[in-house]
Amino acid sequence: MTKNILLSAKGLSKSFGGIKAVNNATIELKSGSITGLIGPNGAGKTTLFNLLANFYTPDRGEVIFASKPIHQLPTHKIARQGMVRTFQVARVLSRLSVLENMLLAPQKQTGENIIKVWLDRKTIKKEEKLNREKAMSILESVGLDSKAKDYAGALSGGQRKLLEIARTLMSDPKLILLDEPAAGVNPTLINQICDHIVNWNKAGISFLIIEHNMDVIMSLCDRIWVLAEGSNLADGTPEEIQNNPHVLEAYLGQ
């Protein structure tokens, strides 16, 4: 049973000065699942993501990913373990092309080694070709293939969100952390994103999703964790959460 657990974080805490942004929070998700993380504004969801992905060092607590403690690792090694995050406000590399944005993501590229750039050009060329094909097919699936050679900075907000999600896929992750993938995206596109998430999930990728759009959360997730004022409020299946009086109270206020 425990073998099935992909990510488990226990007792995570993080304060900014006097604010306890995350206070003794716990989260756990199974391999192959789509898990939701909800809570009112300022509940500490994004901060919790930052702790999981080691963008912030936790004051206390531990993060176990794929049976390995990762909270001591440097930030850049997290992606190599197979966990990639997106940002609440989509971040793209403006002055690089959409395709280059995609090609940045694969891990352990030979051509990232400055010496091999000059000495092993053949291998690099081969890798680049494969990565480019993969990138184009992912871009095609999210409808950005016609933009491949354009600057990423010229994309609209929704397109940037798509690009950011597509980019995480390029690094062959086990788990993708999505921070509000549906925020600022039109309803048709939201449906498309949801379909993609389901498809990618079938292909074996797990998701942890922060989202205020309850339709998205309820339709996608196997399990939902609720955070309020930095601490766990509840967790359970979508039905359990929908009928939990504490959750309604936290969202609607008293």
């Binding site: 590399l93 403006s94 002055r95 690089l96 090609l103 940045l104 000059w118 680049e128 900075g153 010229a154």
Partner: protein, 381 residues
């Protein structure tokens, strides 16, 4: 035509040193372009790397170390300086790097000025070994040198044509893109100018190799190293490594989220840029014949910035173009202005003023530099 060639051969020595200076500053600025143009690292003390390369080369060769080894050690020490600056500041916010580079460059200048046991201080270093000085080429030697020069000229022209061809291709595939590529006519004009420059340097090079003087040999070597540094950098910035570096320039959080060791990449770029400036320093020392601390004023850092900005940041051909423009400007004003009856003291002030003016006009008219892309300035994060 004959007139032109006679004229050229009378001035060929001057044009040879101009070519060497241009190559030296092109190499120097290519180092800065890697650091700032591609990696976004602000280096306001670039001259420090050149100083270290120059002094190491001349002092070591004076004590009998072979020239090649001296140059390599000079570049290595320049990279080491980059390493120490890098590990202390590259983890911090970017402005710290800018401030520390200013400080370190001043420190290096003071050492060159005052530590006489190491650098001979203000009296400077003279009579050091310079490549080709004792070389008396026979016919074979000259033929080899000319063949080498021809090879470099063909390489340059080939690079130029390839660049123009790519611009054409981009222009034709303009649909579905949010930006406006350079118009073909503009490409052709620039291509023609560049071709004339290449031909000019080539013909003058052949003349000077024929009437051999050691500077002609130095020129071929400087052009060769420039070609090597340029092509090495072009491969690098188009590789996955270059992509990571550019990504860090854009937004290092993204690079980090995607598993790139941001600090390490910045350090590599900074050190390599420093090492390249170190190599430029060796050639600068050879061209100068004698090195004094005053040859390495902070103004040289500023000159490298001008070259990069004029050519277009993050564009290697642009940087070479910038160096050519910079030294053409220098030569033209040095010869033309005195003929207008302006005395020397006013002259140097005027020249700097005009540089300032040109920069202001450039920033208003073409802030991205001559070969830069405008969209790269206006795209929001």
């Amino acid at each position: 035509m004959l007139n032109f060639i006679i004229n050229l051969s009378n001035n060929s020595g001057y044009i040879v040193s101009l070519t060497i200076l241009t190559s030296v500053f092109a190499i120097f600025a290519l180092g800065l372009n890697l650091q700032w143009g591609f990696s976004g690292l602000i280096n306001f003390g670039h001259i420090a790397f050149m100083t270290i390369g120059a002094y190491t080369t001349v002092m070591l060769s004076l004590s009998g170390v072979p020239l090649i080894v001296a140059v390599i050690i000079g570049a290595g020490l320049a990279a080491l300086l980059g390493f120490f600056i890098g590990i202390s500041t590259l983890r911090l916010r970017e402005d710290y790097l800018a401030i520390v580079t200013i400080g370190v460059s001043e420190l290096v200048r003071l050492v060159a000025n005052n530590e006489e046991w190491l650098t001979r201080g203000v009296q400077g270093v003279r009579r050091y070994q310079i490549p080709f000085v004792d070389w008396e080429p026979g016919i074979l030697g000259k033929v080899i040198a000319i063949a080498l020069l021809t090879g470099i000229a063909i390489f340059a022209q080939w690079q130029l044509l390839r660049g123009i061809k790519n611009q054409f291709k981009e222009y034709r595939s303009v649909q579905n893109k949010s930006y406006q590529p350079t118009k073909p006519i503009v490409c052709i004009i620039w291509g023609a100018i560049a071709t004339i420059v290449i031909l000019f340097i080539y013909i003058n090079g052949i003349i000077s190799l024929y009437n051999y003087h050691y500077q002609a040999g130095l020129m071929v070597l400087a052009l060769l190293i420039l070609a090597l540094v340029y092509s090495g950098l072009e491969i690098l910035v188009r590789s996955p490594w270059g992509r990571v570096i550019k990504a860090i320039r854009e937004d290092e959080e993204i690079a980090r989220a995607l598993g790139k060791n941001v600090f390490f990449y910045k350090l590599q770029a900074f050190m390599l840029g420093g090492a390249i400036a170190g190599v430029a320093g060796s050639f600068y020392a050879w061209q100068l014949n004698a090195v004094y601390p005053t040859s390495f004023e902070p103004l040289q850092t500023f000159n490298a910035w001008i070259i990069v900005v004029v050519g277009g940041a993050g564009n290697n051909p642009g940087t070479i173009l910038g160096a050519i423009i910079f030294w053409t400007y220098d030569a033209v004003t040095r010869f033309l202005l005195p003929q207008l009856g302006i005395d020397n003291a006013r002259l140097s002030a005027l020249r700097i003023m005009v540089i300032g003016l040109i920069l202001m006009i450039l920033v208003m008219w073409r802030p991205q530099g001559i070969l830069g892309k405008k969209e790269e300035l206006t795209l929001g994060k």
